[in-house]
């Protein structure tokens, strides 16, 4: 199918024979346009119905924003946007968590009045346990989630503080409000003791070590006569509730007191996790410590601070625990308590306060309210935990981002199977493209490429090799103009390493300030060789799309 092309400039050199080059048959550039009359993939309608109310913007009205005194935090983080489909001004609540928390607190407060009478005692007892456990879990979450220290000794600290506080109370007769203080002191001491190895160990080994501490505690209190090896616990701590309350009121007040402890723990969580300390630690997750350190982050100090802070808080909760239950039991050191607590964290999702609270609620409900189920309820807890671990990446509260990630993955998979590589946009993509001009560019580019691919022949390549610059036959000219018109990102260029001696092929970054990257090792001896090598690369890239 080869023909010859006569250089139209030949007339300017009348003494020479006209330059003739073997070239392609003429092919109309409209060919691909005429051949293409419909999309190959099935086109679906797109568009999402606005089925809920969107507030308009404030426009010319003054918008007074309120804050939580005395912080900088706004009561609700509301952002204004332009709707890309209409350019209408809209408002969006960027963080809805304060709303959910408010609803949850209201539910906690009103819960006692909604529980059926026959279950009331059971539920209220469990609810108080929930408050205390949730508080402990929040502090523990700081250690595991924020500081990234795999400590399993938190309940052992609770135990130690509860035992210690009870013991002191029995010995000295201190009032109930001293118990959390005593517990805090014990927690701090305990914290220091188990923080020291944390400086050297990490991950699995540290977990193992803390497990040893837990077991040591359990064996000690079971064996120790002072700590009630005979009575199965140490009792006699003063209660914070007045003695003259009815049992019902005791349960009610006990519940609200535990709830208060949980709220206090939430504040602690917020102030550690959401402030400087938490940010420093999130910069230094496990296995990235070296990077953080290189950036000037003193993560060890931060970890130990969080650890000590949490241990002290856990100790205080232990003191409260002693006052709430009138003493301490070796159960706190037992392995099943630890496992249940771990289940609470995992189900809710590591690293989130709402995860700790919701996880605790679920597990405590199953453990303490569904008592009729007997041992089956542990199977249920185990099953839930197993499912969470198997299918959820970040517990219950990680479901939303996980779902979105999954949806995105599926979306791109399906689009990839429907759309042609380098082809036109699907309606789904087009609707996400702000500059609609790009949609047409994709169509035009596809037509161009499909057309010029048919122009690649050995004759054309030979023509280029023999003369990379200057007047070319129509077919080669089209190819070159297409190549040269491409965008700057990853566009090939030539790098001269020694003038008139050594050239290499590079690709431009298309981004000001970023050097081109070298694409191959080969060295070309003169510009013409390099031009041709670059041309061959472009041809290859073209044929691959």
């Amino acid at each position: 199918m080869s023909r010859t092309w006569i250089d139209p400039l030949s007339g300017f050199e009348p003494e020479k024979a006209p330059r003739e080059v073997a070239t392609n048959d003429y092919l109309s550039p409209q060919t691909t346009w005429n051949e293409t009359t419909r999309f190959k993939p099935k086109m679906y309608k797109v568009g999402r119905l606005n089925f809920f109310y969107k507030w308009p913007g404030h426009g010319g009205h003054l918008w007074s924003r309120t804050r939580y005194w005395p912080t900088r935090r706004r009561v609700l983080n509301i952002g204004g946007t332009y709707n890309q489909k209409t350019m209408r001004r809209e408002k969006t609540i960027l963080d809805k968590r304060p709303i959910w928390w408010t609803i949850a607190f209201a539910a906690f407060l009103l819960m006692p009045f909604a529980v059926p009478g026959d279950l009331w005692n059971t539920v209220m007892t469990a609810a108080a346990v929930f408050g205390i456990y949730a508080a402990v879990n929040l502090c523990w979450m700081l250690i595991i989630g924020t500081a990234g220290i795999y400590s399993l000794a938190s309940y052992a600290v609770v135990g130690a503080a509860a035992y210690g506080a009870t013991y002191i109370a029995i010995l000295t007769g201190i009032p109930w409000w001293m118990l959390p203080l005593a517990g805090a002191a014990i927690g701090l001491v305990f914290g220091v003791i188990i923080a020291l190895p944390a400086m050297r160990l990490d991950g699995f080994y540290y977990a193992l070590l803390t497990l040893g501490v837990v077991e040591l505690g359990r064996v000690y209190v079971i064996q120790s006569r002072v700590f009630g090896s005979a009575t199965g616990g140490l009792y006699g701590a003063p209660s914070y509730l007045p003695d003259d309350l009815s049992q019902q009121d005791q349960l009610l007040y006990g519940y609200y007191a535990s709830l208060l402890v949980m709220v206090a723990a939430l504040f602690l969580y917020r102030f550690v996790n959401g402030k400087r300390l938490g940010r420093v630690l999130r910069m230094a997750p496990e296995k990235k410590e070296a990077f953080a350190e290189a950036c000037g982050v003193d993560y060890r100090r931060a970890r130990v601070s969080v650890f000590l802070l949490s241990s002290t808080a856990i100790g205080a909760i232990g003191g409260f625990y002693a006052s709430h239950f009138g003493g301490a039991s070796p159960n706190l050191f037992s392995f099943d308590t630890l496992l249940l607590a771990l289940a609470m964290l995992v189900i809710g999702g590591i690293g989130r306060s709402e995860g700790a609270v919701a996880g605790t609620a679920i597990v405590v409900f199953i453990d303490r309210v569904l008592i009729d189920w007997g041992p089956l309820r542990f199977v249920l807890i185990g099953l839930i935990m197993l499912l969470v671990v198997l299918f959820l990446r970040d517990g219950l509260f990680g479901i939303k981002p996980q779902f979105r990630a999954w949806r995105d993955k599926k979306k791109s998979e399906r689009r990839a199977t429907r759309a042609e590589k380098g082809g036109e946009m699907l309606p789904e993509e087009a609707t996400e493209t702000e500059n609609k001009d790009e949609i047409y560019y994709r169509r035009f580019d596809k037509m161009q490429r499909d057309f010029i691919k048919r122009l690649v022949t050995n004759e054309i390549i030979e023509e280029h090799r023999s003369r990379p610059l200057g007047q070319h036959s129509e077919a080669l000219d089209r190819l070159l103009i297409y190549f040269r018109r491409q965008g700057q990102v990853d566009k090939y260029a030539i790098l001269v390493t020694e003038e008139f001696k050594a050239y290499r092929i590079v690709a431009l970054s298309g981004h000001r300030g970023t050097a081109p990257r070298v694409v191959e090792d080969k060295v070309y001896l003169n510009p013409n060789e390099a031009y041709h090598a670059l041309f061959l690369r472009r041809v290859q890239d073209l044929l691959e799309t």
Partner: protein, 772 residues
Amino acid sequence: MAELKIFGYANKISVKPGDAITFHVNADGTSTAQAQLVRLIHGDTHPAGPGYKEEEILSPLNGAWDVRKQFTQVGSYCTVEDPEGRLAVDGSFSLCAFVYPNHPGDGLRQCLLGRWDAFGNRGYGLWLNPAGLLEFGYGNGQEVDYIDGEVPLLKQHWYFVAATYDAKTGVATLYQESAANRYNSRLGKVAGIDYRSHVRETLRFKPVNPPEVPFLLAGAQDFHTLRGTFVTQGLNGKLDRPSVYDRVLTREDLDAYRKSGQGPADGIVAFWDTSSGYTAEGIGDTVVDIGPHRLHAVGYNRPVRAQTGFNWNGKSHSFQVAPHEFGGIEFHDDAIIDCNWAVTRSWTVPELRSGAYGIRLRIGDGTGIREEYIVFFVRARQPKAPIAFLVPTASYLAYANEHLSFDAEIMQPLAGQSPILSELDIEMYQTESFGLSLYDTHSDGAGCCYSSYRRPILNMRPKARMSSMGVTWQLPADLSVIAWLEHAGYDYEVLTDEDLHLEGLDALKPYRLVLTGTHPEYVSEAMLDATEDYVEQGGRLIYMGGNGYYWNIGMRTDEPWCVEVRKLNSGMRAWQARPGEYHMATNGQKSGIWKDLGRPPQKLTGVGFISEGFDSARPFRRMPDSWHRRVDWMFEGIEGEMLGDFGLAHEAAGGLEIDRYDLALGTPPHSLIVASSGGHSDNYVTVTEEVLYPYPGLSGSHDYRIRADMVFFTAPNDGAVFSTGSIAFGQSLPFNNFDNNIAKLLSNIVNSFQSQKKVPGWSWTLEEKQIR
């Protein structure tokens, strides 16, 4: 150890013996550099030519120089001298400005105005935050409190924004309203966009205003241990009439301000009337404060003045007609006019032969970015030679550190080839502080209208090649002409565009013959006038290139290191000025191409720009007129009709950018076309200013106009002009060690032009009456 690099610049580009010049050098990875004063002779390493040539000159400058790392303040902004700390308002205050953001959001924090210490979190400021929202905030040294707007500012739209702060209650209020009209912004009414935002919030603590924090327009102060204080958070966009009040302006106050551009009279701390102080000659860097304290602001790195303001309504197009509508002052965070590096060496120029000189600095292996030439030109103290080579330094500046290969998508189709990049090109592209050329756009998309030589210019040095075209360009190409003058043994001196602009005709008058550079594209009115007068008064001019006398540029007489251009509407232009911004701040003249101002280059040289192409070049062939005795003397000793079918630029003398004879554009009617190139490839396309309707057939193989014409005409008082009409012409001179017909032709012309005698053939002027 850091990578070895060395770069420098001189504070002057043109000196005479006896003048003082300073050199400013930055070095990475070393503290000494080997310096050598050299006279530059030939700058093209192409194997078809004589190769690179320089002459080492004995000088006390030679030897080891102590060099060090130097820092560059990039970005344009305005400083305010405020010794009494009036802008450190302690009570209630308001900040106001009209703003036209070029590039809001995108992760950039841009300070509109304020007294802000970004390192220590002290002071106050009004910003566009990284999300593009208007933000007012302040700090007390530990903490920052702020309030931001409801919706982001949209790009290229005039807004009036303000923040008021009530010190008693801590209440801060933001005011954001559109100030667009039918003309001044990107979007029109029909887009139906609500631009407004009015937000109020009670902030927590009081700002702290330490005395050492400076007030800046379009920037904020930052600190680095090695560098000390510097300015960051630069604005990309225009400000108009910013102000500071020492009271809380009410909504009504601000509404009136927005509509009129005039704030309320009471409570002004400073009110910078950006449209004030305009003179017929242009605008300086001082932004006038019309408030009681006269706290004038001064631009650094030359913010662009005379831009259209919030109230520009499309009726007037010059700040001289309606100055109040041209209060826009435009800032770019990547602008650079003067690196202001510490002086590395000072030198008083001794008696040196006039010519192109360079300080060659070498570190390490002395190649690539480890070798630097700081180029400057030495004039004669008293002109003695008959010949002057006029170095087109203004055009060197226009192309200084051009980014075309990297940033311009059009460059490969335009040049008909892929770029050949060198280590220097890549270093230039990676280093923001080397600045931009008049062919680049700022990172916010606006065209770069200023270029200066008080910064390292990586392509204004010998051996450099224009990456996008694979040939030498400007200085290294002009050195081929100098090398030829040198080789042929002519008595010549050099002078530069700067001298011509400052001294006018006096600079040229002592010379019998002036040769231009190969691409003297950028000329000011003073330069053009002087050249025209020189020819008219009997001077002889050889226009050695193509696409010359093209753009009208501005140059301040007191700051000649910086040139200004506005590219507009017509001409081969890398960017397009916004409507209404066609007049140069430097001198008030309309910029653009001289053709559109009534002075096509044909009126001076007989030829003007017709086409450009970079994939090939073509030889000239004698035209029949060249056998006329008025010009046939040029061809003495030349065999055949073909001229310049060789060269260092794509192997022929007619190419790159080419000029054509055109009576309609003012070619003197008695001009002769001596020779023309032809057969240009289709990469040569007719220039836009000659195209009314683009139609197929405006390229080399179709359009007869696409050619380079060698044109000759005689001028009054025994003057004469010869134009080569092609940039590639100069690069054919060194071929075969200067022994070729282009060099022969040129020496025939130079020999007769430099003499006091009349040009040969002057008397062959009668009407032809031959029987033949």
